[in-house]
Symmetry: C2
Subunit: 342 residues, 2 copies
DNA sequence: ATGGGTTATGTTACCGCTAACAGCCATAGG
DNA sequence: CCTATGGCTGTTAGCGGTAACATAACCCAT
């Protein structure tokens, strides 16, 4: 004796429900809903009508399993509160807009272990491609990405070895370039303020490039100060005050990002310090926020939107023919603003 | 004659590969990898070893289809560049941390149509729950959410009708409360600066509540100014200047968010305007940025972290027993800062 | 030896959809 | 008239896992 068919009114609908409601096979319904193959107009109408009135939402899990196709692109970034990454995401979304591909974001909080877990989780959904911030990953992460058999694009940074493709700028060069501009402007007692996070490799590379250029000019950092956590704007103030108290003859402050730079700028202006006469300031990133500040902070644009676009392009382009292994270096432009002497 | 088994070294691995490599059935491998059921230590060892050396990553698509379980929670927000939403996300992630649930973010850019599309897309992956910002959705969106048979939590706002559960604050009440504080401080010529986005319902409700309270005191807005797009800090400056030029006797400016409020504050301080003596200022949100400003802007905390946490809690809690229909009202606290007379 | 209870592993039948192919009908051409 | 062609629809066999049940091996108490 078979169980009576219990019809649960709240169970989720399947193709079969739509097929029964419209009197055609499941396959035809599937074709209609995906706009595939030939279906007569009258049938299409009936199917769409049925799907609409039932409120049918296809099950992509089943679809993806059957078709071996997943329209997702994994995007792995260290943080959302940095403002840099949302902007990269915007670039990615823009470019993916009408490719049928969909970005899915994972956040690592600058932790390599967390990154490894997020990569594993993402790959287990078999995305069509992955975009990962940075070139530094655990051994296992690199192996997983390399094995995945999908296009991988590492973004933001190109100073290092890419698993597959890469789009970014050279942070080492960016640091160097800024140092050269500062030295050319006549500053000599130069200090650095930045993040202490051990895993912010890009900030580290900028500082390395910066010190490299200083060394070439026979200079060394006059002072340095690090922070972690808290309101970046406030930290910028505090660090600036600390450095100037400890090393009063400093004549330039290089910040590892614009937010703390802005804090420093506000503090200097409040104290009536002559910027850029007595002290020059520079940050990094070119954040929109700066437009509203009393004075334009010197900075370097990190090409965030462009990085997102190009990365997405690589993924979308590879959708069919797999090529792989491109490295695209973008060149940030130095925006001297009003905080470096001319 | 059968085809010779072509072993593609780059094809993605399946349970079968691990099972063959370790000499047990696929089922046992599955059990090991999910820590389910009884497996002897020696077998477990062998299986894990095999999986590790092969670099096997499970296929969650297949797993989800078979088990009818998906460990994803859809989170739908209007924007990532608002700083409010990343913070809500942080609250959600924190709370979901060790529930095995994973947030997946979708962005609507404040467009109801886009929201509808994103909801459809998300539901097609059959998530375990959905967290959606706001109470205003298209007819179709509401229907889809209601039909989905999963816990739905609408966040940020509670002034309206929820599909299922809701966690947020009353923006109408928040606006009213701020107006009352301003009036109590003796200000009378009060103007408003805010976003023009037609779909920022929460800003609208705050303004409605604000005007309501003004009316009760026999007052009306002395002026109003709207913006859209661009650097909020800069827009804050521009709007402030515009209002004060057009209506010089204004003695208070209420901003729809802290960023434009901060711009206004910086502008006033630069112009040497006495704040809060001649002009009072207030914003909304309690963003971290404010800590670094020369003066603390009056604002109201929107309970963003708490909202994220509570929403996640509802989703996670319902994982088993479905209850539904809770509405949690959080109460924002007014932070008078230094820009309202006392 | 028998039976009952563990513990550890294997077998079977799907989950909901789609690729690939098969079939059917009408029309057009020979 | 028959066959070729193309448009439309249906059938079959998985995709890669997991739930549920079946089985085997071993233990101990009877």
């Amino acid at each position: 004796m078979t169980k009576p068919p219990v019809i649960d009114p709240r169970r989720t609908l399947t193709l079969r429900d739509v097929s029964e409601a419209s009197g055609v096979s499941e396959m035809t319904v599937s074709r209609v809903l995906r706009n595939r193959g030939d279906v007569s107009d009258s049938t299409r109408e009936r199917v769409l009508e049925a799907a609409r009135t039932l409120g049918y939402v296809p099950n992509k899990i089943a679809g993806a399993l059957a078709s071996q196709r997943v329209n997702l692109v994994g995007v792995i970034i260290p943080s959302l509160s940095n403002m840099v990454f949302p902007e990269v995401l915007t670039g990615i979304s823009d470019m993916l807009e009408d490719t049928g591909l969909q970005p899915v974001v994972g956040v690592t909080n600058y932790s390599p272990e967390r990154e490894e877990a997020v990569i594993y989780e993402m790959l287990s959904w078999r995305p069509s491609g992955m975009i990962v911030a940075g070139l530094e990953h655990t051994e296992a992460s690199r192996a997983m990405l390399a094995q995945a058999g999908i296009p991988i694009v590492e973004i933001m940074d190109i100073d290092g070895e890419a698993v597959d493709s890469a789009v970014g700028i050279s942070h080492r060069r960016a640091g160097r370039q800024m140092a050269e501009a500062i030295i050319a402007a006549g500053y000599r007692r130069i200090a650095f303020c930045g993040t202490m996070m051990p895993y912010d490799h890009r900030a580290r590379k900028r500082l390395e490039g910066f010190e490299e250029a200083l060394a070439k000019a026979g200079l060394t950092l006059a002072d340095r100060e690090f922070y972690s956590g808290g309101s970046a704007l406030l930290k910028g103030r505090e660090m600036t005050e600390a450095v100037l108290k400890r090393t009063p003859d400093v004549d330039f402050l290089y910040y590892s990002n614009d937010m703390i730079g802005a804090g420093g700028l506000l503090w200097c202006l409040e104290k009536g310090i002559d910027v850029p006469g007595k002290i020059g300031l520079a940050g990094f990133n070119g954040v929109e926020l700066l437009d509203g500040l009393p004075r334009r902070l010197a900075t370097m644009d990190a090409c965030r939107l462009e990085i997102g676009r190009r990365a997405a392009e690589i993924i979308a382009g590879k959708h069919d023919g797999v090529i792989g292994g491109e490295v695209i270096e973008l060149t940030p432009t130095l925006q001297p603003g009003d905080t470096i002497r001319r």
